[in-house]
Amino acid sequence: MDAKFISRGQLPEWLRSLAARFAVLAPARAGSSVIYRPVDPEAPPRQPELAVKPTESAKRALFPLSEALLTFVKNQPDGKPGLELRETPPPRPCLVFGLPSCDARGFLVFDPVYAGSGTAGKFQDNYYLRRREQAVLIVKTCPRPLSTCFCNWVGGGPASTEGADVLATELKDGLVLEALTGKGARVLDSALLRPAADEQLTAAAQSRAASEAAMPPPVDISGCARALRGKFDSAGFWQGHSAGCLSCGACTCLCPTCYCFDLSDEERGSRGVRLRSWDSCMLPLFTQETGGHNPRAAKAARLRNRISHKFSFYPDLHPSLPGQDGHIACCGCGRCIRSCPSAVDIRRIVTEALGTAAEGAE
């Protein structure tokens, strides 16, 4: 596939040119955080923030924080009861520039759920699938891991190309862009890019190798699905790990693989929208039934569900290769550890369930 080079100076211009065809998101500083911001083709060119790992995941590109699934009009012009429902038209195709490989791998967890595979329902969510099909993901090689990174425990790596359309690797004066898919090759077809020279390709390969080498060796968590099933009824285990939890939901909000949502209506007069918005299994109201019963009223039960879903329930529903553990619904980005106000550490929970905590994180 094609390999191109873009100088740092021309990068903003290229992103602006892409914004004519795509809704482009690129990392940008917002106070002390780095978030994915739309690139405005009308605004002055701006360098994306590539030095720091984004604080949030890129999931909003394919799974907006809140989106109108339907619009409704309730009354007919003559005042009689009516109901007209309209599906929201498909959005513009999206392009994300500069997401770390963990964020791209996060969408691999969304895919089967929203395609209805692996469950009894087989319902397809075309709002997600349409976006997914059209999206272009330009993954950037992670220069060095943070202390909270553990992507290599769950099948990833700083230069993993899974789920990506282009792999970008930073050199001193610009980026080498290597197309991985047809969609990726098409966005590299630009006069602002020139073919990458051999020495640039070699430098990019060396940089990737250095990134891989900088990752501490992974902890083997095979068998985690079974181990967590075995811990399900250990109240003390979950109470201990959730003792500090404030039920703030920061973990699920920042997580690239947390895909739960709420449906709600907003209306003005007789018109309105049915919204789908991010929700969080860490909030007590998530499972609160109208009749008063709540199967996960305690924060220990909520943490147990979140961790078990990622490392046990989801892998059971979505097996990978025969004889192997299923696909783990965690991409090891470490954001839930980094941003947790009370230091709940997902790695420690999994390794302690496996009984390998001594060789685990920290």
Binding site: T119, F123, D125, Y127, D265, F286, T287, T290, H293, P295
Partner: protein
């Protein structure tokens, strides 16, 4: 169900029946006549009812597939959406996403004695099963219904229940929590009434639905009466949003009540993680 699982079908309220002070039944017909005619559902399946602006909530379909002219939902007024639904009048428009989930395996129950045990609004999913069985009466053995509520006024479907009591091919037992003057039926909680009835487990199945506390003790009573786990069916209630196995809130381990349920045998529940 249409291609978009979140897009409800528009329906008109044909009739509103005040069952109790806080339960109303809504009989609906899809506005798209072809869609209504094509509607296929089974006893025990659920649906999502939308009152746009207020929101959407999940209910058991309380009419049987053998009665095609309407789709019925019985709604206990308890929260925001159900309170808004209680304001519906005939002619009003609602959204319906149905059917959802699995159903009572009535074929497996053929030739057996049937014991239905309901409490309060828990009668709603049992009603279509009972009506289906009455419409196919010869396929089943002895049919017994035990239905309880707090007070006589809290028993839903009473008009119909009086007709059932007059039939010779169905035994109906009613119970209320506390004694009231001139109440001719049982007094006491549903599990106690079940214990007193003491149905035989021989070639029988028991199907129960009601508040979580009632179900718990009904299951204990059935166990005491020597019903095996495979002979006991229940239908679960969970908070749901999408109804199609995606939004992530109604799971018990790796099972989603919206698509893997709502009907489970006690044997299945015993094999699942303990998070009811």
């Amino acid at each position: 169900m249409p291609n978009n699982p979140y897009l409800p079908q528009v329906a008109t309220v044909l009739e509103v029946i005040a069952e109790t002070p806080d339960i109303k039944s809504f009989r609906l017909r899809l506005d798209d006549e072809a869609a209504h005619a094509a509607l296929r559902f089974e006893p025990g399946q659920a649906g999502q009812l939308s009152l746009f602006g207020a929101g959407e909530a999940t209910f058991a379909i309380s009419s049987p597939p053998s009665r095609k002219e309407y789709l019925q939902f019985s709604v206990l007024r308890a929260g925001e959406v159900t309170t808004a639904l209680h304001g519906l009048m005939p002619g009003d428009k609602v959204g319906v996403r149905a059917p959802l989930g699995n159903h009572f395996p009535y074929d497996d129950m053929k030739g057996k004695d049937i014991i239905l045990v309901g409490g309060g609004i828990g009668m709603a999913p049992l009603r279509p099963l009972l009506l289906f069985m009455l419409d196919n009466r010869d396929d089943y053995g002895k049919i017994s219904l035990l239905y309880g509520a707090r007070s006589p006024g809290d028993l839903a479907y009473m008009g119909e229940i009086r007709e059932w009591m007059a039939r010779g091919d169905l035994s109906v037992t009613l119970t209320i929590d506390r004694e009231v003057p001139e109440w001719p039926h049982e007094v006491g909680l549903v599990p106690q009434a079940l214990d007193k009835l003491s149905p035989s487990p021989a070639n029988a199945v028991a199907i129960t639905c009601g508040p979580p506390g009632m179900i718990k003790y009904v299951l204990q009573t059935l166990k005491k009466l020597k019903f095996a786990d495979g002979q006991i069916y229940t239908t679960l209630e969970k908070r749901m949003k999408c109804g199609v196995g995606i939004c992530g809130r109604c799971n018990i381990g790796d099972k989603y009540v919206c698509i893997d349920g709502p009907v489970f045998t006690q044997a299945q529940l015993t094999g699942m993680l303990n998070e009811l």
